[in-house]
Symmetry: C2
Subunit: 398 residues, 2 copies
């Protein structure tokens, strides 16, 4: 049972427009009072039209009232028509809500390179506006409307006490194809009734995103459509949160809980995955080195298949660390610990069969590599590579 | 039927020592007259002991008479004992052949982190020496002895006319796990009776390796054991081949044919693969950009699974190119051509169903991306990602 409640002043809706066969495929977020907003977007050079447009709108900094999101079609590689369609989505939404065009963000996820079915979208938007609600069922409708290959909705709420005022945060996201994180589309919407200044909001999203969504992704978020939007409408009535204060830290902890949970949900929903894996590389000279080595392990098909096979093949991990080309690596000093059991420590450890039999057997797996060359470390989440993943992705579309 | 004949003055052998259950697992190359030698090795920071030792031996530049190779055990992450064992293999081989320890190279491939079964190896080497032969069956024995997950031997011979003299080149290699090329171990032995100076030999191996084995690999050869060794024993009696001459170019063309064929054989034998894919990115500002984009496409699990599913999902290719972050990329100019059919040219092309049905259907697939930002290009070979790959690698070992 997911605990669901929207922060004050927010309403959402989600429905089936007809782009998908039967499932919900379009959703709306609305706050009557303008929100301070921050966003994190894909670094991919091929950006979908709605990504480019939303970045432009956020830059104008006129406050955000709404976000219109569709699944089923990414509106990417759609040329000039794609931008016309994205703008049309913003325009109709702003018209129906009676807010400005610079107060509405737009997101799309789904297949690349197909013209948007604007007829269905145009017909749906007024209905989305009519069904806006703060109720749990509406949140579930919205959460469902943004899904693609996800098995289930991903929602996390938390309340934080800021100087005696209860501040609510809710996060809703989609994303499942994280086995090869570079390519996965991830959308996340974080809504809060906190009263927080722009500078603090931008900073807190950047910082928490780094250790959550970015820690399940390679080289930043590299799909064409990845978007994280954080909206704060100040309805909680707390004193303005500024950077460098106790209140900032409190808000950040709360936000961190939400983002961490959603990031783990995405990994857990990794296409066909059977294992949730935390990979930590420690003892490196720099943080960057730790991250580099962690990402090479997390992206090794050979490591990922051995996790699926429940085979603690530490040699593939050693080889990945070597391939990451980090500074100061001495194989004769390195230690590799799988689910708490040391398999290699300068040399192979003869692990008793009984102990070995328990490694990689649980759903949650823990891989630690200690390079013993310094004091930095980095962790990330990933999942295994399974036959089911190949099945899902061999025939996804076209 | 593979055409097999050894260049003059070379003998080889291969046998079952007992490290593998029944298959051949140790082999020997021998030339009575000392060879000029060149090598290309893995860039991985975790290098197997035999790689380090062979690099040291080649540096001494005292000429090479023999190479001893075992499969079943990579002798990697084996600490000081690993180096002792590699040296022992060289020492016993040199003793049995009555040549110097600096005239013998050693290679290993197989599982990482296990102590070598030296008893079996020590017993096998004299038998390998006794069975050395220039005959076809011996070449097949040697080729079999170096295999791990390969489906079959990989051998290519060619003869080149250098100033009226017939020069022979044979290449024998192993390597199959090229679906994720960073991690695949590849061993290749190229033997020739050419008379060629050291400088020319080193240069010609570097140049031909770049467009063959390196074009099926990511970021150089990143397994712990990758080794390519080229030996020339001058028995053909041709005039000394030097760099910058017509003879150099002739020898290079011949060598290129051998290496290209072996590289393609490795891709064709990719674990569980059903497709052989040539990926070309052209129209980039720099060669490096072309290579970068090609490698991102070649390593995308999503592209590889769509190849397996025979689904011409060009959107995943577009997204990969964007993720490669190359300079001057404009999605509105880019063209994507799959098996000769343009699917995207600034915008999606509506390909007739009949035409589309033929794409990705043959064993040999051709992916071309034209970035239209410059004049450089790069090609590489890869294969698809299949359920069989996951099966093979989920339970390979330990």
């Amino acid at each position: 049972m997911i605990k669901i409640s929207l922060p004050k002043g927010f309403k959402v809706s989600g429905m089936h427009s007809g782009m998908k066969k039967t499932k919900k495929d379009i959703g709306l977020i609305f706050s009557q009072s303008k929100c301070v907003a921050a966003g994190v977007f894909t670094q991919n050079k091929v950006k979908a039209a709605p990504v480019i447009l939303t970045q432009q709108i956020l830059k104008k900094n006129e406050g955000i009232n709404a976000v219109i999101v569709n699944s089923a079609n990414a509106n990417c590689c759609t040329g000039k028509q794609g931008m016309i369609d994205a703008k049309k989505m913003v325009q109709i939404t702003s018209d129906c809500l009676n807010v400005g065009m610079n107060n509405v963000c737009v997101c799309s996820t789904g297949i690349i390179g197909h013209k948007m079915d604007m007829e269905k979208i145009i017909a749906a938007i007024p209905q989305l506006v009519d069904t806006l609600s703060y109720k749990k069922e509406a949140v579930l409708d919205f959460a469902r409307s943004i899904l693609t290959t996800d098995k289930d909705v991903k929602i996390k709420t938390i309340s934080v006490n800021i100087c005696g005022k209860k501040v609510m945060i809710i996060g809703v996201c989609k994303g499942a194809g994280m086995v090869h994180p570079k390519m996965a589309t991830m959308l996340a919407y974080i809504l809060t009734d906190a009263n927080i200044e722009q500078k603090a909001l931008t900073k807190v999203l950047k910082e928490t995103n780094e250790v959550s969504f970015n820690a399940i992704s390679v080289d930043g978020d590299m799909s064409t459509n990845d978007t994280v939007i954080l909206l704060a409408n100040a309805q909680a009535g707390n004193e303005l949160i500024k950077t460098g204060t106790k209140e900032y830290d409190e808000f950040k902890s709360g936000l961190n809980v939400v983002l961490q949970k959603l990031a783990q949900d995405i990994v857990e929903d990794g296409e066909g995955s059977t294992k949730i894996v935390t990979i930590t590389v420690k003892g490196t000279k720099t943080k960057k080195d730790a991250e580099k080595a962690t990402r090479v392990i997390a992206n090794s098909q050979l490591v990922k298949t051995s996790l699926y096979g429940q085979d603690p093949n530490w040699g593939r991990i050693a080889s990945s660390v070597g391939a990451s080309m980090i500074a100061g690596l001495d194989p004769d000093k390195m230690e590799i610990i799988l689910d708490g059991v040391t398999f290699y420590n300068g040399k192979r450890i003869d692990v008793p069969a009984k102990k070995k039999a328990k490694v990689y057997k649980n759903k949650y797996v823990d891989i630690v590599v200690d390079v013993k060359a310094g004091k930095e470390e980095y962790s990330m989440f990933t999942c295994d590579l399974t036959k089911r993943y190949v099945e899902i992705n061999a025939h996804y579309t076209t």
